[in-house]
């Protein structure tokens, strides 16, 4: 067997195999196409993994149980601090409409009088007027 014969055999093999790839039965090519579609759908559904740094990154890399053990006290602390910082009763910067509601905690607004325009709405922003109403109610 010389090299020329071997080379000829290789060339023939390549040619025939290439031909064979083109002549695959329809059901095989369709199943290959379906397999490809399935594989690609896995790519679309692949979760996007982002490598976070800092506290969140550290938290994400922890096991679930450890995450819970860390997250619960942190959230509780954050809520506690949040409620202490935001105390509506001590808030002086209440906008005008809310100021009306604030007054309503002490004395309900006379809605009928306001709607009948007997009492202008702005009157409830006047401390003297509110004091007058309070005194009248106490009598």
């Amino acid at each position: 067997m010389n090299h020329e014969n071997t080379a000829r055999a290789i060339a023939l093999t390549r040619q025939v195999l290439d031909h064979g790839v083109e002549q695959l039965p329809y059901d095989i090519t369709e199943r290959l196409r379906a397999a490809r579609t399935r594989a690609l759908s896995a790519q679309k559904n692949k979760p996007i993994l982002s490598v976070s740094t800092g506290f969140w990154g550290w938290l994400q890399r922890m096991p679930t149980l450890a995450q819970s053990l860390v997250a619960v006290p942190v959230l509780a602390g954050a809520l506690l601090i949040g409620t202490q910082i935001y105390n509506p009763a001590s808030d002086d910067s209440i906008p005008a409409p809310m100021a009306l509601m604030q007054i309503s905690n002490e004395e309900p607004l006379n809605i009928d009088a306001i709607l009948d325009e007997k009492i202008p709405l702005q009157a409830y922003l006047n401390d003297d007027f509110n004091r007058f109403v309070a005194q009248n109610n106490h009598r």
Binding site: T13, V16, L17, D18, V21, L32, R33, L40, Q43
Partner: protein, 196 residues
């Protein structure tokens, strides 16, 4: 020349890339496992693995990665099924009588069709599809490593170095496997009268 199992052209999308390689990948798997269903499963697993693990890699790296994944999928198949290719008869182990019994049917039937019993050259008589059938059978019967090396080197046009990387062996081993496979095929084709 011919394409890689994976074309050297860089594909813009994974879809285009897989479409360009799926048929050849199927043939590789089929030659190895000799079963359509298993070959299709192997190709699908390889596609899935490439998409899930390496789709963020540069497209230029997909060809080698996919070929390697496919090779591993074939090996895993055999590992799972406790089947070893080296149990199958190899060309070097064939004596001519057993080869005649095993694979001479096609030629015999072709020759018997000649009413005047004149012996035509098989090359002119056998159709391309029949040669394909014979060649595929010959390739399937090659020892696994020889077949792997032969297909990667001579069909897919991978270099000796690349083939060695893909097969996880030395370049010397690749050359040996390729040489043995090529000579076996050449001998078999000549004996069948397909080549002179």
């Amino acid at each position: 020349m011919s394409d890689y199992l994976v074309s050297p052209a860089v594909h813009q999308t994974m879809d285009a890339f897989l479409a360009s390689v799926e048929r050849r990948a199927y043939k590789h798997a089929f030659f190895a496992v000799r079963n359509e269903e298993n070959a299709l499963d192997i190709v699908q697993d390889a596609m899935l693995s490439l998409v899930q693990s390496y789709s963020d890699k540069p497209a230029a790296e997909w060809p080698m990665l996919f070929t390697r994944i496919l090779q591993n999928a074939v090996h895993n198949h055999f590992r799972r099924n406790k089947v070893r290719d080296y149990w199958t008869p190899t060309f070097s182990e064939f004596d001519h009588s057993s080869e005649d019994e095993a694979s001479f049917d096609i030629l015999e039937s072709l020759l018997s069709r000649n009413g005047d019993n004149s012996i035509e050259s098989a090359e002119s008589t056998i159709s391309r599809e029949q040669i394909l059938g014979i060649l595929e059978e010959l390739i399937k019967n090659l020892p696994a490593r020889q077949r792997e090396a032969f297909l990667l080197r001579y069909w897919e046009d991978y270099s000796v170095t690349e083939t060695a990387q893909l097969m996880g062996c030395s370049e010397g081993s690749v050359k040996t496997h390729c040489s043995r496979a090529a000579h076996s095929l050449a001998d078999a084709l000549r004996e069948k009268g397909i080549t002179s």
